[in-house]
Amino acid sequence: MPHLVIWPPILVSCAYVLLFSAWTIWVSFTRSTLMPDYSWAGWRNYSSMLATRNWHIAYTNLFIYGTCFVVFTMALGLLLAVLIDQRIRAENIYRAIFLYPLAVSFVVTGTVWGWLLNPSIGIQKLMHDIGWTSFRFEWLIDQDMAIYTVVIAGVWQASGFAMALLLAGLRSVDADLLKAAQIDGAGPARTYLRVVFPTIGPIFIAVLVMLLQFAIKTYDLVVALTAGGPGLASTLPTVVVYDFMFQRSELARGSAAAVMLLGSLAFVLVPYGLYRMWQQRKARAHA
């Protein structure tokens, strides 16, 4: 009798992961357009996707956005974590303020930052009204800069996450280690750089990987903030997938784009998985 309860959810879940992925991969090799059509097309969808302008812009943007987003989020998260670690009064209030963006949807974040960064009603307008009429901040409508507005909103949303994990790491450092550094005459800056940061290295890497996969999956934020525009200027791979699948009714080419998206995720996650396995083996060898 328990088998009837144990197995269905487990099987559904495994089938969902394996079969749905296999299904999308299969569709990416077919001639499907508006409806699935299972006649074989080989690598054609991949080569034609790789040749589109959308794909090139999207991956260039992902590279810019991913790099800036991860660097700034890590830097800000680390700065905030170290500051909060200085035995601050009202620590809980600061933490709550830095973390609340995570509770809000990307749709909300994107919409509100869209208003703030809109030159005619946002920050630029405020500066003009207080008399600084030469102030320019028009990234949102600038072909070359629009992708950086996504970085701003993304960093705003995610640096609390980095802060929370890094702070937990800082707090987990062995107190004896810190005392030893103090006795050796190391100042606070030196203690952080030489003792604390190296010991929480694995947490840095974990946060880095989480942020990278988060950057690759970014979708709603761009839709709400720039809708991929102006033109295609701030499009991302996820936007390209949706565009091909449902707006152009090219299921097969959209699926090929989705599989390439999965490929870029694997590019980040597989090395990390191997690193974790290597670490666990090392830990077991020591034990």
Binding site: I6, P9, V12, S13, S21, L80, I97, V207, Y219, A258
Partner: protein
């Protein structure tokens, strides 16, 4: 060197306050704008104080507004989201608890592989499941229904809820189970009498995680529902697309605030568990 010490304390606090302000700006701006008139905002920009308190923005956006030819405000979409998030959260959490219990305490051959496959589901991008879902929902006749979205979120959520619960249940001592089994207790009895009473901390984390994630989800909502069946996130985007020529900043701000309210309240009252959920997946 007391003066240097105080100086650095001042610098620390000043930096923290500056960043706190940066993080609060969007929330404060939306809250203030939800009480300003659209003319006021179009004239004076989004950053400013209300001249008079326009409480009517809320009533207008809640029940009077037109989105996609339906003039009932955002209220129907808000309730759509509620009708989606409540069953999906409860069912995915319960099934996740059962899965976690089976995988951690009723070990069977290949259980780690099964668990590994399920955790892969946490990382797979949503885009990889869109086409299969289109076909499955069409075949089940659930396209463009709330039930369809509930089904998606239950199946999608199982990966997360199983991961959370399994990692929690592995620390339950096996001896406890052995003793219960010797006393003749079966699968359900052990779950009900021993495992479930130990579970409230992880169940709260899981419920908060699922509620926030499902309420805020956009891609499935916009792909598998349209018109009056959309959840609130999709409706908000539809609203701003429809109003892009003549934005109604006052009412739109009120709409944004109402859409963000449920998860913000959950965060406010369950912040501790919220953080635990975030770290559970990442640090483990």
């Amino acid at each position: 060197m007391p003066s240097r010490v105080t100086l650095s304390r001042v610098a620390i606090h000043a930096t923290l306050i500056a960043f706190a302000a940066f993080f609060l700006v969007p929330l404060v701006v939306v809250a203030l704008n939800s009480l300003r008139s659209t003319e006021d905002i179009a004239h004076g920009g989004v950053i400013g104080l209300p001249h008079e308190l326009m409480w009517s923005n809320f009533s207008g956006t809640w029940s009077g507004y037109c989105i996609a030819q339906h003039c009932d405000g955002i209220q129907p979409y808000f309730w759509n989201s509620m009708r989606m998030v409540i069953p999906a959260t409860i069912i995915s959490t319960l099934l996740g608890a059962l899965n976690g219990y089976s995988l951690s305490l009723w070990r069977f051959r290949g259980d780690t592989i099964v668990f590994g496959i399920m955790t892969l589901g946490v990382f797979l991008p949503e885009q990889m499941r869109l086409v299969p879902w289109v076909i499955v929902l069409r075949d089940l006749n659930l396209f463009n229904t709330i039930s369809g979205l509930v089904l998606i979120h239950i199946v999608q959520g199982l990966s997360f809820t199983t991961l959370f619960c399994r990692n929690y249940y592995v620390s339950v001592p096996q001896d406890l189970l052995k003793a219960a089994r010797i006393d003749g207790a079966g699968y359900f009895r052990i779950f009900w009498r021993i495992v479930l009473p130990l579970s409230p901390p992880i169940l709260i984390v899981t419920v908060i995680w699922q509620f926030t994630g499902i309420w805020n989800e956009y891609l499935y909502g916009v792909t598998f529902s349209s018109g009056e069946h959309q959840p609130i996130t999709a409706a908000l985007i539809a609203l701003s697309a429809r109003l892009s020529d003549a934005p109604q900043y006052g009412e739109q701000s009120a709409a944004v605030l109402l859409a963000a309210a449920p998860t913000l309240l959950v965060y406010l009252f369950g912040g501790r568990y919220f953080l635990r959920g975030l770290t559970a997946g990442a640090v483990k």
